[in-house]
Symmetry: C2
Subunit: 288 residues, 2 copies
C-alpha cells in the first residue's frame, strides 16, 4: 500500500479512532485541533501537529474532516483561512461529518473550481464501529475521487458504498436517520405501553424482538430504556441536529415527513427538559 | 402425547394452517365455519364438521378461535349460542385472535363463572409462521390454563411466552403492533426521501439495513416498496384494526402514543384511497 499524507480535522470520539486506524495502517497523519491537548493521544502515536488549518492543508495530499455542525463544516472548508483556499492543487478533500447535502454540493463546486476533488462521506456504526474499523461509509462525489479514497475508506470502514454524485453520501445518511427517528418512537411507545399495562417489559421483548416488530433499536436500546440506563451511545443533541438537516432538506425537496417531524419535536422537548447529553433511548422519559 | 379433541373456529389464512398442524400432530379436530366450503381442505384431512358453535362446543375439550374483529370474538364467546354458554365444564378456551385486552378479561371472568378456563393467546409470525409452526404466541391467563395449553402451543409455535394474567397476551401483541406502526413510518419516509433525492433506493438499503437504522420492516418490506409490490403479507385493514385497539386501550390507560396515532391516521388515509386490501408496505403510495 502506498503511504499517503493525510490531514485530519475533528478528533472527537469518532474522529480520534478513525485517525488512529489510519496512522496504524502506516499513513502519515497531520492534525490540527482547536484545543491542542485533545491531539495529545494522536501526537503520542506519531502524528504531526499544525497551528492552523491554513498551515495544515498545503502539507498533505488528502484532507479528512469529521467535525460537529454544518456551520463548522462551512468554516473549515469555505472560510478565507479554510481548506479549499489553502490546499495543494489536486488534493482530495473528504468530509465525513453528518452535514447538509446542499453544503456538500457547494463544497464540491468550490473545490472543483480550484482544481481539488471533494467527497461527502458520512458514516454510521458509532464509536465501536470507529474503533474497530467497521463503519458504514456512504459516499457522494465523482468516481475518480471515490477510487482514490477507497484504500483509506477500507481502513476505517467495512461497508463502503458509492451512493452517487456530490451530496449523495449525505442524502443516504439522512435516509438512515429518518428510518431511526420513527423507529425509536415505535420502540419507545411499545415499552411505555408495556409498563402502563403492567406487563414485564423484558418478557415482552422476548416475545416481540425477533419478529416483524424487530429492529436494531428494539434489540439494543429498549433494554437500556427498561434499565433506566441513559448513557449516550448516540447523543440526543446530535440526533436533533441530524433530524433538523433531514427536515430542512426534505422541505426544500417538497417532501412531507410527518413521522420525522413528530420525532424531532419530541426529541426537542426531551432536550429542553435537560436531556440533550443523554443517549437517544432517553426518549422513554417523555412517556412516564 | 395425549390426543386432545379440539374445536377450531376461524379457518382464514392463519387459522387453516394452525388447524392443519394440530390435525397432523394427531389431535382430533372439530370445526365450524360460516361458509362450509372454506372447511373442505380440513374435512379432507379428517376434521369433523359441526353445524353450529352451539353443537361444536360441547363436543370438545379445548376450543381454539382465531377470527376477525373483537366484535366477532365477542359473538363467538359471549352470545347466547356461543362457546361459553355451550362448552363442557372444565373446557379450555383459547382465543388467538388479535383483539381487545379488556374483552379478553371479560371472557376470562365469564368463563370462570361457568367453570371454564380461558386464555388470550394472539400470535405473530404471519402466514409463513402459521404454516411452519413457528409462530410467536403471547399468552395471557392463569398458569393452570397455560400449562394445559402448552403441548398444543408447541405444535403451532416456537416462541411461547406466558406474559401474565388475562389480557396480558393481547397487551403484548399491542406492544408488537405499536413498535411496527412507527417503524413502518420511518422505513417509508426513508424510501420516499431516497427517491426524492434522486438516490438509488436499493443501494441506500445496502448502506443502511445492517446498522442502527435496521429493522425487520426495512429488510423485508422496503424492497417491496421499491419494486411496487403491494401484495398483502399483512393487510392494511387488519393493521388498522390492531392499531385502533391499541389506541383505544392506550387512551383508557391514560397513555399518549403520538407515533401510533400518526401511523393510524396515515393508514386510514391509505385505506380510504382504496388500499385496504394491500399489504402494509403500500404506505409508500402516500409519499409519491
Amino acid at each position: 500500500m502506498e503511504m499517503t499524507s493525510i490531514g485530519f480535522i475533528g478528533t472527537g470520539v469518532m474522529g480520534r479512532s478513525m485517525a488512529l486506524n489510519l496512522l496504524k495502517a502506516g499513513h502519515e497523519l497531520h492534525i490540527y485541533t482547536r484545543t491542542k491537548q485533545k491531539a495529545a493521544p494522536l501526537l503520542a502515536e506519531g502524528a504531526t501537529w499544525h497551528d492552523s488549518i491554513a498551515e495544515l492543508a498545503p502539507a498533505v495530499d488528502v484532507m479528512i474532516t469529521i467535525v460537529g455542525y454544518p456551520s463548522d463544516v462551512e468554516a473549515v472548508y469555505l472560510s478565507e483561512s479554510g481548506i479549499i483556499n489553502n490546499a495543494k492543487p489536486g488534493s482530495l478533500l473528504i468530509d465525513m461529518t453528518t452535514s447538509k447535502p446542499s453544503l456538500a454540493e457547494e463544497i464540491t463546486r468550490t473545490a472543483q473550481a480550484r482544481g481539488l476533488i471533494a467527497l461527502d462521506a458520512p458514516v454510521s456504526g458509532g464509536d465501536i464501529g470507529a474503533r474497530n474499523g467497521t463503519l458504514s461509509i456512504m459516499v457522494g462525489g465523482d468516481s475518480e475521487g471515490f477510487e482514490r479514497a477507497l484504500p483509506l475508506f477500507e481502513i476505517i470502514g467495512d461497508k463502503i458504498i458509492h451512493q452517487g454524485p456530490a451530496g449523495a453520501g449525505q442524502h443516504t445518511k439522512m435516509c438512515n436517520q429518518i428510518a431511526i427517528a420513527s423507529t425509536m418512537l415505535g420502540v419507545t411507545e411499545a415499552i411505555a405501553y408495556a409498563r402502563k399495562a403492567g406487563l414485564n417489559p423484558t418478557r415482552v421483548l422476548d416475545s416481540i424482538t425477533t419478529g416483524a416488530a424487530g429492529s436494531w433499536s428494539l434489540t439494543n436500546l429498549a433494554p437500556r430504556m427498561i434499565k433506566g440506563d441513559f448513557a449516550p451511545g448516540f447523543y440526543v443533541k446530535h440526533f436533533i441536529k441530524d433530524m433538523l438537516i433531514a427536515l430542512d432538506t426534505a422541505e426544500e425537496m417538497g417532501l412531507e415527513t410527518p413521522g420525522l417531524q413528530l420525532a424531532h419535536s419530541l426529541y426537542q422537548d426531551l432536550a429542553e427538559a435537560g436531556d440533550e447529553d443523554s443517549g437517544t433511548q432517553a426518549l422513554i422519559k417523555l412517556f412516564s
